[in-house]
Symmetry: C2
Subunit: 194 residues, 2 copies
């Protein structure tokens, strides 16, 4: 998706150690029009998977998961990290690494909203090491729903998450894949040998 | 908005002590089509405010704020509760009550994304006591942007938040206003004397 590559080139910042700052349009400030087009792009990639539900993790997965679900015409569920008072006492839980606090954090989904018969597409903003998405996949498995695909807005190929996730046997797609970034220069996977 | 009232009547659960469970379509599982129409309804109410930015708080404000911003054609910023590594060291901070942990939590916005010249519309899923929205208003004030409106998906009128917020001198709007709930029976404000 050329529009997203352009935004990353123009506004993204390589903060070093693999950290990409895109909080002007993806994960602090969000460009809603761009996010709708990102959702349409992701939906198109999974059109044949007969998705019944999109699953993401709060917080920054919510925007792209919502627009993907909108384009697919299905509900979206965001796994909670803190338990709201409206959540029933028995829930599906999987541990995920905490990017902001270190250690691990619980991802929780109510059994009211995911279970046998659901065909689940996982969507997140980033595919990096794959560990958050792997935790979401664990939630799908323990709910006895079927995982049918994994999609991300931005893949950082140099962190190797795709290899982990492809072992799950479902399609793994990213709107844009960054092969490398160095000193503010971004190389996208489909341009590596161009 | 009759569609939302119907969903609350059919799927909402009064858990007692003023707690309304609507996590099947608003704040755990989200119905994207409904949320787009909610955003259009909110946008219509603030059309004349020349909004340049929508502000919300993670987590459950993100979906309605995104769809409202989409309908208005402006960016949306969600105040963070934990500091991402991509956030600069100097940020705007306001304390808000924590609904899940007790005590208070910091709401943070990067000065890159809100400041003088911005006309800010605050959107959240619930207007209850008004304390979270009041904290967001404080963020607007310390950023020296202008607050031009406050909107919520569901107002619980019996918690009195509107009185607090109207003192700010900007329009306060809710898609639906619940005047009272008791034993699973919901009375909406515009039907009170019907």
């Amino acid at each position: 998706m050329d529009e997203l590559k352009e935004r990353i080139r123009r506004e993204g910042k390589d903060l070093g150690r693999g950290i990409l700052k895109v909080d002007g349009f993806i994960n602090h400030q969000v460009d809603p029009d761009l996010m709708v087009r990102v959702g349409q792009d992701l939906a198109r990639r999974f059109r044949r998977q007969a998705v019944t539900k999109v699953l993401t993790a709060e917080i920054s997965g919510i925007a792209p998961a919502l627009t993907t679900a909108l384009a697919l015409g299905v509900p979206v569920v965001y796994a909670r990290k803190t338990r709201p008072i409206t959540m029933p006492p028995a829930v599906f839980v999987a541990q995920a690494p905490s990017h902001t606090k270190g250690g691990t954090v619980d991802l929780m989904v109510s059994p009211e909203f995911m279970g046998p018969g659901d065909r689940v597409l996982i969507i997140d903003d980033f595919l990096a090491s794959g560990s958050t998405i792997g935790s979401l996949a664990n939630l799908v498995f323990i709910s006895r729903a079927e995982l049918v695909g994994i999609g991300a807005v931005v893949e950082k190929a140099f962190e190797g998450g795709r290899q982990e996730l492809e072992a799950l046997g479902v399609p793994v797609e990213a709107v844009v894949t960054i092969a490398s970034m160095q000193d503010g220069h971004f190389v996208f996977a489909d341009e590596e040998n161009a």
